[in-house]
């Protein structure tokens, strides 16, 4: 055992970076559902605008965190190896395609925008995975955990949006939420199994609690509410909204914990102890 400076929580990325993962993931997931759910043209436009605004807000939050804000364009300089650069390019494509979709209303463009949104989520997962200094992030399965969390958040937000827009819960969204929360639970389970041994106790405790909430608040509660809403038609809208809030809230909390509470660094370790003293 070595006792030197123990691993400490990274301070380079704060809540602003967490917001990029939270809002960017939710916005992208929301855009995905907006492309495939039949809505009126007005509602489709509103949905796409909300999704793009969330992604933009996330990117703005992380831009505020940078030390040299006026050099933001430099973020595009390393597409060969940097997932942050790739995320930026995908974001550009997302806004271009989203704007074209809003302008023309063409369903094919909406599908293209959704595909780009999926790419954006994937980039976010890879950004964390490439962070070799943080054991909780560099685990490869983090990519799928981030991906399914974003899809579940998007579905959750879409349930809320549907209720506010006065649209009955669209079947694809209900089905998408079921699929996403189950997949998110499976991804969390795989991630947890692989990362557990590498984490310091504080990081493990923080993630355990947030992960438990992914199961309970983020999966069991929404599924139970959807079933209840299906059985009691008078409660259907309320159940859908609550299910959406639960799926969304659990995902947001998990990402916040992942960036702010579980991001302990590697620390230092000595595989060998110096052998001091003379020899005969």
């Amino acid at each position: 055992m070595s006792y030197g400076p123990r691993p400490w929580i990274q301070l380079h990325w704060d809540a602003r970076a967490a917001l990029n993962f939270i809002l960017g993931g939710t916005g992208s997931g929301f855009i995905l559902f907006a492309a495939f759910v039949p809505l009126s043209p007005h509602q489709s436009q509103a949905a796409l605008l909300i999704g793009l605004a969330l992604v933009a807000a996330g990117l703005t939050a992380v831009w505020i965190e940078t030390g040299r804000k006026l050099r933001a364009v430099h973020v595009f300089f390393n597409p060969m190896t940097s997932w942050m650069t790739r995320e930026s390019f995908v974001a550009l494509a997302l806004f271009a395609s989203g704007t074209a979709t809003l302008w023309t209303g063409a369903p094919q463009l909406a599908v293209l925008t959704a595909a780009i949104a999926v790419g954006f989520i994937y980039c976010q997962g890879r950004i964390l995975r490439a962070s070799k200094g943080i054991p909780a992030w560099r685990e490869p399965t983090i990519t799928w955990l981030i991906f399914w969390t974003a899809v579940a958040e998007g579905a959750g937000l879409f349930l809320i949006f549907s209720a506010l827009a006065g649209v009955p819960v669209p079947t694809p969204v209900g089905g998408g939420l079921v699929l996403a929360v189950v997949a998110r639970g499976v991804a969390w389970s795989a991630y947890r199994r692989r990362v557990e041994a590498d984490l310091v106790p504080k990081a493990r405790t923080a993630l355990e609690l947030a992960g438990k909430q992914l199961y309970q608040l983020g999966a069991i509660v929404p599924l139970a509410l959807l079933v209840t809403g299906g059985a009691l038609s008078s409660f259907a809208t309320g159940a859908a909204v609550l299910a959406g809030i639960a799926a969304l809230g659990a995902g947001w909390r998990f990402k916040f914990v992942l960036v702010m509470r579980a991001a302990y660094n590697q620390g230092f370790a000595l595989p060998h102890v110096p052998v001091r003293g003379g020899r005969k």
Binding site: T66, G67, R71
Partner: protein, 227 residues
């Protein structure tokens, strides 16, 4: 080819932090920044506990994760193995800092000095506003190395071409040299001693070696007398 590497002999380091002070003086880093620092570690279980002093900093990896993640290409790796940061390109996103497994990178947004608002002479002379809001780290004193080479000096042997921390080490624990040169000081040390690198399992191929024992020769046992 050349690959500049640094060696810390853990048997010799006494934890005096002179290397830390020399680095801070040479590079005029702010109070909260230590490009070269020495960890004070306790190793083992009672009653067999040892105290070990471990110099750390940028490991100048051959496969540096900080360079791969850098979105602006500010972080690069020179042909001689030294990992550099272009302060004019860096956007201060901090991605390199979370990618580095050695906690070697710093970012300071405001100027600060050792004694309040008034900089010391060396701090005033060395103050570089380009370093604000961007990532910084140990440079292996690349300016000294380059200037020395231009004058025909040998880094690691001639002090004027050698990193400040190595020059200052009172115990002869720190060494610098070209690992690709089989006759270099560092190649000989690595040949004659058992060594390891920090977190080698991560595959970053660090350019910072730690010596912990003599290489076992026939007829001897590690850590004690001969047979």
């Amino acid at each position: 080819m050349t690959r500049w590497v640094m060696i810390a002999d853990l048997r010799r380091c006494v934890g005096c932090q002179t290397c830390t002070a020399a680095c801070k003086h040479t590079n005029a880093t702010p109070p909260e920044v230590q490009w070269r620092r020495v960890l004070d570690m306790e190793v083992g279980e009672y009653p067999a506990v040892k105290r070990v002093f471990v110099p750390v900093g940028c490991m100048h990896c051959a496969d540096p994760p900080c360079m791969h993640v850098c979105p602006s290409t500010a972080t690069r790796r020179r042909a001689d193995g030294i990992v550099t940061i272009d302060y004019d390109l860096c956007i201060g996103c901090g991605y390199c800092a979370v990618a580095c497994p050695y906690q070697a990178r710093y970012k300071t947004d405001k100027a600060s000095f050792a004694y309040g608002d008034t900089p010391m002479e060396n701090e005033a002379a060395m103050f570089d506003p380009k370093r604000l809001g961007v990532a910084t780290k140990c440079t292996f004193c690349s300016d000294r190395v380059d200037a020395g080479l231009a004058r025909g000096l040998k880094p690691g042997v001639d002090p004027e071409a050698t990193p400040a921390c190595v020059n200052s080490c009172i115990a002869g624990a720190l060494h610098f040299g070209d690992k690709e040169d089989p006759q270099s000081n560092v190649s000989k040390l690595l040949d004659e001693n058992e060594h390891f690198r920090m977190h080698e399992e991560l595959g970053t191929d660090p350019g910072f070696y730690y010596l912990w024992d003599k290489t076992v020769k026939e007829g001897y046992e590690r850590g004690g007398g001969g047979k």
